[in-house]
């Protein structure tokens, strides 16, 4: 028995997350992302190659299901391609918010790549809709029976609205694929939450495999200070983000700050879609942080007071403003347009997310003192504006990864979604500090994880009760009530050394019995063996250790004699 784990994407890199795990014969694809740094074949995971390796005719028969962890494009971007072009027709699972919000992300990016780069269209808007229609929505903690043998379950992952860690179990083998997660709560989301599960394998992201972050508040204050300074100097602030996730978090932060500081400078959202997305957020308030949930009847935190209507031409208006523009990482679209206009002025400010994929403008800006960006041979942009790198990220830091791994205590760990040197560092830590074998395969490599399994058999009430009796302490009933029995598997477990006899009869299922039950089954009488001192061969005194032994073995059977 084993879990075969094939990494199709996000192996020793960030981008196009896609892992296929074969658990007790059930093949599950976790995430189906695109890589935004590439515009060639490397854009998508190498599905064809995987299919050939499995020796399957088509993807539908090869896979039991596809599970998407969250709406970021590097986790879902290849899904319409996979279903509409590659022809996968099996079940697809994602959480309610992911199903609701993913079409935005996909369509926004599709437009960007089409309009801006004239890239060959990989899938159409209709493909996105057709694809999303097939999706089965998941609620958190719900145990979903994919088929007779395979169950999956989603756990809260923080990160972005609707992000989930996925538990999958088939036969006796169980694993968790984390997707992206955050171990500390942010403005609008709670921290990741999972039960203490019994796992053979944990596949975790490792974006910040080596980084330990300090207080989030300080970082947020830095950001607000930078923005405030810029607008009070008459500058413009460009915040390139994706339509969902970071945009809402930062906007809540700014909206709140504007309110407190009584600022009147307009905050814009580049496309109507983000405002529309806010409506979704309102309906999905149950997936946000407890604080927002508790207060939403009075004030819905996604009703932004200071966000104003925006038109494309405003980009040329004089005077200060804050603009949220898509896509993040400035890989094209309106954020690139605004960047071209605003980057040359030192009054302006551009904020960059904590992580930018290689190949994007954002990545170039991050990598030091860039003064000139060359887009193509005719387009050179002088960069004189200030650049503020957001130091808070919706990803867990290395402490969080270690904490989660220790909490779950899986038998094996696989790292994905990170950079090779940092992953090597983290692997060392996991192996030396936690004593778990750890792997970080490259794309298209696979790892085989051995798993434990159990044999099902029946036993008698007598055996169960005598085990509990041997425990000798309190009754099972009281013990467990005190220990509490949450959903976790290890809590509420009860231990007792049990001694019994396994009987295997031809044409019958094996069964565990107590000793005297065995005698009954065999139709035999017990033959007692006793030890006595030679001198006392006439006296009925017993050698103590064996008598005790006999007594213990006889528990419960004495009444019969």
């Amino acid at each position: 028995m084993a879990i075969e784990c094939l990494v199709l994407g996000a192996g020793q890199e960030v981008g196009k997350s896609c892992v296929v795990a074969t658990i007790a014969g059930k093949r599950v694809m976790f995430d189906c992302g695109m890589h935004m740094g590439y515009h060639d074949r490397r854009h998508y995971p190498d599905f064809a190659r995987a299919l050939a390796a499995w020796g399957a005719l088509d993807f539908t028969s090869a896979l039991s299901c596809v599970v998407i962890t969250h709406f970021h494009l590097d986790h879902i971007g290849a899904l319409p391609y996979f279903t509409e072009v590659c022809g996968y027709h099996g079940p697809i699972y994602m959480t309610y918010p992911t199903k609701a919000l993913a079409p935005f992300m996909l369509e926004d990016y599709r437009k960007v790549t089409m309009d801006q780069r004239g890239e060959a269209e990989q899938y159409s808007y209709e493909d996105i809709l057709r694809c999303m229609k097939k999706v089965i929505p998941l609620d958190l903690k719900q145990t979903v029976q994919v088929d007779k043998d395979l169950v999956i379950r989603a756990y809260y992952a923080g990160h972005v609205l609707g992000a989930a860690m996925i538990y999958a179990k088939a036969g006796d083998a169980a694993m968790v694929y984390t997707g992206d997660y955050n171990m500390t709560p942010d403005r609008h989301l709670g921290a990741a939450q999972i039960d203490r599960l019994k796992l053979d394998l944990l596949i975790t992201e490792s974006t910040y495999a080596k980084t330990i972050r300090d207080s989030k508040h300080a970082r947020e204050r830095e950001f607000l200070k930078a923005v405030h300074k810029c607008v009070s100097g008459g500058g413009k602030v460009l915040i390139p983000t994706f339509a969902l996730g970071r945009a809402q978090e930062l906007c809540m932060l700014l909206d709140d700050y504007w309110e407190r500081m009584n600022l009147k400078i307009p905050i814009y959202f580049s496309a109507g879609l983000t405002i529309q997305a806010n409506m979704y957020y309102k309906m999905l308030i149950g997936w946000t942080s407890q604080k927002i949930k508790d207060s939403h009847a009075v004030h819905n935190s996604f009703d932004f007071k200071h966000v104003c209507h925006f038109e494309r031409s405003f980009i040329n208006n004089p005077g200060p403003c804050v603009l949220f523009a898509t896509p993040g990482m400035i890989s094209g679209g309106f954020s690139l347009e605004a960047f071209k206009k605003w980057a040359p002025s030192e009054k302006n400010l551009i904020t960059l997310p904590g992580y930018c994929v290689a190949g994007t403008v954002g990545h170039k800006l991050m990598s030091g003192k860039t003064t000139k960006i060359v887009l193509d041979k005719d387009t050179h942009i002088d960069v004189r504006c200030q650049i503020h790198q957001l130091a808070f990220s919706p990803h867990t830091d290395s402490k969080g990864i270690m904490d989660l791994t220790e909490f779950l205590s899986p038998k094996h760990v696989i790292l994905v979604h990170g950079e090779k040197p940092q992953m090597a560092f983290l692997k060392e830590r996991i192996e030396s500090e936690l004593g778990m074998p750890c792997f970080y395969p490259a794309n298209n490599e696979s790892v085989s994880i051995p798993t434990t399994h159990t044999l099902k058999m029946s036993t008698t009430e007598r055996f169960i009760t005598s085990c509990a009796a041997e425990q000798g302490k309190q009754s099972l009933r009281k013990r467990n009530l005190i220990h509490g029995t949450g959903a976790s598997e290890v809590n509420g477990s009860d231990e007792a050394a049990a001694e019994g006899v396994l009987v295997m009869e031809k044409h019958k299922a094996p069964k565990i019995l107590c000793e005297d039950e065995l005698l009954q089954v065999l139709g035999m009488e017990r033959h007692l063996v006793q030890f006595e001192a030679m001198g006392s061969s006439r006296i009925e005194a017993a050698v103590e250790w064996e008598l005790k032994r006999a007594e213990a073995a006889d528990l419960g059977s004495e009444e019969n004699e």
């Binding site: 903690k141 009847a297 049990a498 006899v501 565990i512 033959h527 006793q530 009444e559």
Partner: protein
């Protein structure tokens, strides 16, 4: 204490009726052979757990209450279910029927002879059960099913109790409790606080004076004594109750006490309402309260998650309540019984096509169409009243009905271009309205689609935006006067017509024949309206779909395929028992019924490494045995046998022997071990033979038919003798 329970075990096992019951209902699949008289546990062997398990081996069900005013939606049935020695309380509604005999405040006129005091309430039947045997866990199926729990929170038998309920039902339930307490406070403000002692009206002659009016209440429910009415719980009790709650999602499996897995699935009746699956080590049980196959607002009845559970506790009493309504149809049904029983049967076959047919029959849209028709009719009555210049008062407490009604009213108003304000006046209105637009996971598929296409989940969001719907916590809320305009439509609590804004508004409009009062059927309308006499207002009594229709019960059971069905006695005559693969047990209020063990055996999971380490011993051609020393773990409802941490060094030696020892074979075995030995000369006792060992040390082995005694002072030699003995004696 453990002795007692062990003794009571025996009694219940040998009770004639429990035996006959088990044989009568035994089906081939549920073979239950009563065991031999249980052995009297020796003091050493009997742990409390062992005793508990043995004592409560059978499943026991006690039905505590069936319905207490307001119909089964407002007051679902309540039971205590005992499994493997643990007690589960299934639902704990509040019985508000006593409210009807209290006069609403402020008092006007003679109050129709009703009691003029702070109202008191029936103590939930579960309180007595909790006092007697304690409660280990509560499974709640609906918001209304938890309204009685704050009465129990202070009981000692409730200290460690966990309450399982869906997130949404818990939330709505808490709002309902809060609202009830708040509305009740109007009486306290009016009369002053209710003291703990006996109120004046309860004193002998005064109580007799009330007798005629109260008769109805009391005789309906024998065994209830008016003096057992008690004061309402406090906000503090509500908080205590909420702290015990373990909220769950649909489909979330939670482990209780290691050996039970609990799972809620949607029942379709209302937002957050659930059906429960209890999986124990030896049986899986479905607790099936009122359910609706296809809903216009809540997630549909997820009956497929209940398939193949061993036992169904059918607790949907809705069809008992609207017995009269259905009677006609039932007669038709009965006439066709012979014909239809045939096709019914084919429906129950397991082949795919017919199963699909059953499901189409169960999930056809008839119910939902009828429901929409009913609500449309209410809606048309409302419009008529408005057109005639009257206002409409709708004191209905069903969330789903209200939400649908709001949508239909707004459509109708829109199409007939009438402009009247709609008021929702309730302590919890604002929260309910905001919250119902933020729970897509709990809604029917068609409303989930609204989420995915970015529309509001319910029509009331539009009404609010357009300024047609106003939400106020009280009649005297700031701003209400400014918005107030008659005619208008008011939705408010409470269906009892004793609490909340309904009292004031009914007093305002009762004499106006243009106005309309919409009531839900199921209460005694005459008694409810007594303090508002004389009436000119039109009264519309309406009913809503509240559960599985009688005609569908049989098909549902066929799809679920249980072994046993526990059915309310009242449905006995209405469910065919002929040729069904399951057996029925009938329950009535206040009685305990027992169900035999469905499986004698427990399932354990043996770790693979333990299995590999086993040393099987072939006893004969067909049987092999192996000694097993493991740790027993219980988690997530599974017993697991894992490798024991300390392996005994004696594990290779026999510890149990059986049969006879042949002394003629022992002798060579001893010699093989290098011992000098011979049979003792004085082998004259009946059946006893002795072997004398002279080297390496002196020893003696005495063998009788059931016992061998080794006399030896040297430990090493006695071990050798023991080993030799093992080689000639059956054992393990």
């Amino acid at each position: 204490m453990c002795r007692d329970s062990a003794r009571s075990t025996r009694k219940s096992r040998l009770e004639p009726n429990s035996l006959t019951r088990s044989t009568r209902h035994a089906t081939p699949r549920a073979a239950f052979a009563p065991k031999e008289a249980p052995t009297d546990a020796s003091p050493l062997a009997a742990s409390e757990h062992a005793a508990a398990l043995r004592a409560e081996a059978a499943m026991k069900l006690t039905c505590l209450s069936t319905s207490g005013g307001g119909g089964s939606y407002h007051s679902p049935a309540s039971h205590v279910l005992e499994l493997e020695g643990l007690r589960f309380l299934l639902d704990c509604p509040i019985d508000l029927s006593a409210l009807a005999v209290f006069s609403p405040v402020p008092l006007t006129g003679d109050a129709g002879g009703l009691i003029r005091a702070v109202p008191r309430y029936w103590s939930p039947a579960a309180a007595a059960a909790a006092r007697e045997g304690g409660v280990d866990a509560v499974l709640v199926s609906s918001a209304t099913g938890m309204l009685g729990l704050p009465f129990l929170t202070r009981l000692p038998g409730f200290v460690n109790t966990k309450i399982y309920v869906t997130e949404v039902a818990a939330r709505i339930g808490k709002l309902m409790m809060r609202e009830l307490v708040e509305m009740h406070r109007a009486f306290v403000r009016y009369y002053g606080p209710d003291t703990d002692g006996l109120p004046k009206w309860m004193e002998g002659d005064k109580l007799n004076g009330l007798a005629s009016m109260l008769q109805k209440l009391v005789t309906e429910d024998e065994g209830k004594d008016l003096t057992s009415l008690m004061p309402l719980y406090s906000p503090g009790n509500i908080e205590e109750c909420m702290q015990k709650i373990q909220p769950v999602k649909y489909g979330e499996e939670v482990c209780f006490n290691g050996i039970f897995m609990l799972k809620a699935s949607s029942s379709g009746l209302e937002l957050g309402n659930s059906v429960w699956t209890i999986k124990g080590p030896r049986a899986s049980i479905t607790y099936l309260p009122s359910s609706v196959f296809v809903s216009a607002h809540a997630l549909d009845f997820d009956y497929s998650s209940l398939k193949e559970n061993d036992v169904i506790l059918f607790s949907d009493l809705s069809s008992l309540n609207d017995m009269d309504e259905d009677n006609e149809k039932l007669d038709e049904h009965a006439m066709n019984e012979t014909d239809s029983s045939l096709c019914h049967h084919s429906v129950l076959r397991d082949d795919g096509a017919d199963a699909d047919e059953t499901i189409t029959f169960l999930c056809n849209n008839d119910d939902i169409t009828e429901e929409i028709e009913r609500i449309s009719f209410i809606c048309s009555c409302i419009i008529d009243a408005i057109k005639s210049g009257g206002s409409v008062l709708i004191p209905i407490g069903r969330l789903g009905a209200i939400l649908l009604l709001l949508e239909l009213i707004s459509e109708t108003l829109h199409s007939s271009s009438i402009k009247v304000p709609i008021f929702m006046i309730s302590e919890t209105a604002e929260e309910i309205i905001a919250f119902t637009n933020a729970l897509p996971e709990w809604l029917c598929k068609s409303r989930q689609e609204k989420l995915f296409s970015g529309e509001a989940l319910f029509g009331h969001m539009e009404l609010l935006k357009e300024g047609k719907l106003f939400l106020f916590p009280h009649l005297h809320s700031k701003g209400l006067l400014a918005a107030w305009k008659e005619p208008c439509i008011v939705l408010c609590p409470h269906w009892s017509l004793r609490l909340g804004p309904a009292v004031h508004l009914l007093r305002r409009w009762h004499a106006d024949k243009r106005c309309l009062l919409v009531l839900e059927q199921g209460n005694d309308a005459e008694l409810s309206l007594k303090p508002f006499m004389p009436l000119a207002i039109q009264v519309l009594e309406c009913s809503f779909l509240s559960g599985v229709r009688v005609a569908k019960i049989d098909s549902l059971l066929g799809v679920l395929n249980p072994k046993f069905v526990m059915l309310p006695e009242g449905l006995k005559s209405r469910c065919s028992v002929k040729k069904r693969p399951w057996s029925f047990l009938y329950y009535t209020k206040g009685k305990t019924i027992e169900l035999p063990n469905l499986r004698e055996d427990f399932e354990v999971h043996l770790a693979h490494n333990v299995a590999l380490g086993l040393q099987p011993r072939q006893l004969n051609e067909t049987t092999a045995v192996a000694r097993l020393r493991t740790d027993l773990l219980v988690s997530s409802g599974q017993y697991q046998l894992a490798a024991a941490e300390k392996q005994s060094d004696r594990s290779k030696r026999h510890l149990l022997h059986w049969g006879a020892v042949d002394p003629d074979r022992l002798l060579p075995a001893l010699q093989e071990k290098g011992m000098l030995c011979s049979f003792a000369a004085d082998d004259n006792c009946a059946g006893e033979r002795s072997v004398l060992i002279t080297s390496p040390v002196d020893a003696l082995v005495k063998i009788t038919s059931d016992r061998t005694v080794i006399y030896c002072d040297d430990e090493g030699t006695s071990k050798h003798i023991y080993d030799a003995l093992c080689s000639v004696c059956n054992g393990i």
